[in-house]
């Protein structure tokens, strides 16, 4: 008998849960507002015996959303989709949160998000996301006023073609960068290339074509001229990415400031 007890008692300790509370939304709200993550996780660990499975996943989804664990959130969200989408505060917050997450997770969230149950706010965020993905098809007037300028800047960069920038730079060094939207770099590229061109020309004229310094000068000019052409082509693509990220960052700031949503309201 004592042997059985000695073996079983520690095992019972392993599976014993100290409390057996019902899911208390107010307490969860309190823990979340005070950022007591350890306590919130402990509370959620205590829930399984009492609450239905999908609502447990729903609470975990909220917890992961607050702590920024995106992949865990997405997995918990998938298991409690209906419950989560009914909670407009949480789904709005998730929408805002995913605007500035890495492209892969962002896409995963917005493709899995069910728009049918969306509020006007979630539809507006969705529109911003769609505009960031397909800027040429979006209508800027449907976006919030404060994001319109950012969006127009972003869309403008999509009208710019990399090959046109490269051609412009081939004609006048730096012009392609100006076209891409990099004004300071354009000026510097022009000055640098002009100086190298002048040096190469002078060396050619004064020292002759076979002089080592002339060959070096022409080589250096050729190298930086090529770099300028390639740089302009590269700048167009870079500026597109930068303006997209900037647009999304401003959108996230805008929604967080104008629609302060709380997870547990």
């Amino acid at each position: 008998m004592s042997k059985w007890f000695c073996g079983l008692f520690p095992l019972l300790m392993l599976f014993y849960n100290a409390t057996s509370a019902q899911a208390d939304k107010k307490l969860l709200h309190y823990l979340a507002v005070n950022k007591l993550w350890q306590e919130e996780a402990a509370y959620l660990h205590e829930l399984p015996s009492k609450v239905p499975d999908d609502s447990l996943h729903y609470f975990w989804a909220k917890y992961y959303l607050q702590t920024g664990a995106d992949s865990f959130f997405l997995s918990a969200y998938e298991k409690s989709k209906n419950l989560f989408l009914d909670d407009t505060g949480s789904s709005n917050l998730a929408n805002i949160h995913f605007l500035v997450r890495p492209a892969g997770v962002r896409q995963k969230w917005f493709t899995s998000y069910d728009e049918k149950k969306g509020t006007p706010l979630s539809q507006s965020i969705r529109m911003v996301y769609d505009a960031s993905e397909r800027p040429l098809e979006a209508n800027p007037q449907l976006l919030p006023d404060k994001l319109e300028d950012d969006f127009l800047q972003f869309r403008k960069s999509f009208h710019h073609k990399a090959w046109i920038a490269a051609t412009l730079s081939a004609a006048v060094p730096g012009l392609g960068k100006l076209y891409a939207g990099r004004k300071a770099s354009a000026g510097m590229t022009f000055i640098l290339n002009s100086a190298y061109a002048l040096q190469a020309y002078e060396s050619y004229a004064k020292l002759g074509p076979r002089n080592a310094f002339t060959i070096y000068s022409i080589g250096l000019f050729g190298l930086f001229y090529t770099v300028n052409v390639y740089g302009s082509w590269h700048a167009v693509k870079e500026v597109r990415k930068e303006r997209k990220t900037q647009f999304l960052i401003h959108a996230e700031e805008y929604y967080r400031f104008h629609y302060p949503n709380s997870l547990y309201f």
Partner: protein
């Protein structure tokens, strides 16, 4: 029977360790529930203190523990002994988490309330103030030295803080006059020679280009490379000087750390 008792103890110990993390979080939650139902801050305070003590008893001195300490209003602690203990613990916790401004605040309140001038208390004050008030640190060191001569070594805190290598301007001026000279005099002859050779090569190149009347190239190389390397040589001298000074300071700090370590072994600072 004896064998089963031993098995029982071992199994219980292992599983307790396994579950301690869970129990800790559960204990925190249990206390937080009590705090949650309290109506006033004074009702909450004893539970907040218990929570902080739970962290301390578990040797968890992380930011989470500090966060708990910062939730407590010390004026609401009714028992003076408990309040003093809290102020001491909070000061130590802040210092452990590099929050010296808060540490100074809690320490001053502790000193105000208790008037404690024991060696360990002064030692904590020295540590807290070491990067803030060097004159106070030297005063406290004097005070401790009069109690125990082993505290003489703490004078190193002031030496270390105010250490400055001399003649920086002279080295820099040497590099201005002859590129690389200051660097070489600082004990880096190869780097100095390198500076000299580069400057000489650029000067030679510019002169040659001027002689061949290739003025654009001369201007480009002179103004571009020449100036960059000349100023670079001065900056390098300055940087190497600063590096040496920092290295010297680091060595002083290492010796001081060793002395302080011995003192802290003799007079350990612990949570109350």
């Amino acid at each position: 029977m004896r064998r089963s008792t031993i098995v029982f103890i071992i199994l219980t110990a292992c599983i307790s360790e396994l579950r301690s993390q869970d129990f800790f979080a559960s204990d925190l939650l249990a206390l937080e529930r009590k705090i949650y139902v309290c109506k006033t801050d004074s009702e909450k305070t004893p539970f907040l203190i218990q929570k902080l003590n739970l962290y301390i008893s578990r040797s968890d001195y992380s930011m989470n523990a500090l966060k708990e300490a910062r939730r407590i209003n010390y004026e609401l602690i009714s028992m003076p002994q408990q309040r003093d203990r809290f102020l001491w613990n909070a000061a130590l916790l802040c210092q452990l988490n590099q929050q010296s401004d808060y540490a100074i605040y809690y320490y001053n309140r502790y000193k105000e309330k208790t008037g404690d001038s024991s060696i360990t208390t002064t030692l904590l004050e020295i540590l807290i103030q070491s990067s803030h008030d060097t004159s106070l640190v030297s005063l406290l060191t004097e005070r401790l030295s009069s109690k125990d001569s082993s505290f003489h070594c703490l004078k190193c805190l002031n030496t270390m803080g105010s250490y400055e290598k001399r003649n920086r301007a002279a080295y820099i001026l040497s590099s201005v006059v002859v590129p690389g000279l200051g660097t070489a005099l600082e004990g880096y002859p190869l780097k100095g020679l390198n500076s000299l050779l580069i400057s000489a090569a650029i000067t030679y190149g510019v002169v040659a280009l001027v002689q061949s009347q290739d003025y654009p190239a001369a201007i480009l190389i002179g103004a571009g490379l020449g100036v960059k390397f000349y100023i670079g040589n001065i900056r390098l001298t300055n940087k190497l000087f600063t590096d040496r000074e920092s290295r010297q300071k680091g060595m002083l700090a290492e010796n001081c750390k060793h002395s302080m370590n011995e003192l802290l072994k003799k007079y350990p600072l612990q949570f109350k």
